[in-house]
Every structure is written in C-alpha cells, then in structure tokens.
Symmetry: C2
Subunit: 90 residues, 2 copies
C-alpha cells in the first residue's frame, strides 16, 4: 500500500523531513509520498528538492498532484485549503 | 511560444493572480503557466486551485514541475531556492 509511505510536512525545519524521507526511502525501498497543506506546501517542495539533489540522487519525482481540501473550523464553518502530494521513487 | 503565457506569483493576494490567469487564459486561448519561487509556491497552488474550481471549470492541470534555482545574493554568495511551474490548459 502506498499509504504506508507518506511523510506529512508541518512547520519544523525542512531538514527534519528530509531525514524522514531518506530513512523511509532506504528502509522501505519503494516510493515515498510527501504531503502538505496550506503554507507548508513550499516546504514540501524544498524537502523533495533537497532530498533529490543532495541525498538520493537516484530518486526522481514520479508524480505531483495538487488538490483542495475542505477544513472544518472550530466554529462549525468550513474553509478550503490547497494541498500537494509529491511522489518520490526510483 | 509557451513563454508568452507565464504568470509569476509574488506576494500579493492570490485573487490578483487568479484574475490574471483567467484573463490570460481567455484571451490567448492556450495553456497558461503559473510560476513561483520560495514561499510563494503555496500561493501558486492556491491560484491554480481557485482558478480551476471557481472560474475555469473546463481547465485542467496539465503538468506540474518542481526545480531548484540558484540565486545570487547581493554579497556575491549564492543560495538555492525551490520553484514550481503549474501548467493549466484545456
């Protein structure tokens, strides 16, 4: 299942996530999906690029998908937030 | 030339760029490329998603590319910045 290999990008420094992606990639030996929402999307692209350029030179971006997710706020209203999925593989 | 149809995303509100993309798309009648670097990448995804979901429902994301650009700082040093290109078309 691809679901096993997802790294969610939050607000920590990019390098934290790069290490997670590299570890996951090397241990599972299959595709890793990097996911982020909202302002973390920029960091997700940084993570993919740093991973590919510096640590896993044989990895390639296999797919990039963008979408919109509906978020339920605490007051019951909803708002839309963009999201990205970047699939790294060999 | 695809080069004629590029919208560069900066720090203004996303809706400013959405209007530019819609205008460009309708007047040129061909693919529009949305480009951004660094922290503006998140906004580029917002612009693509808002355009597609609200204004140009017949438009699709035809391609998404990410890359790393080397930026020359004022002091002569260089730093890397991630960039994204999102191609919207019919």
């Amino acid at each position: 299942m691809a679901e096993d290999n997802i790294i969610y990008i939050g607000k920590k420094p990019a390098m934290n996530y790069v290490l997670a992606v590299v570890t996951q990639f090397n241990s599972a030996g299959k595709d890793v999906t990097i996911k982020a929402r909202g302002k973390s999307i920029s960091r997700a692209v940084d993570v993919a690029e740093i991973t590919r350029n510096r640590f896993l030179k044989d990895a390639a971006v296999k797919d990039i998908r963008i979408s919109t997710e509906m978020i339920k706020e605490e007051d019951g209203s909803t708002s839309n937030v963009s999201s990205i999925e970047i699939v790294l593989g060999k």
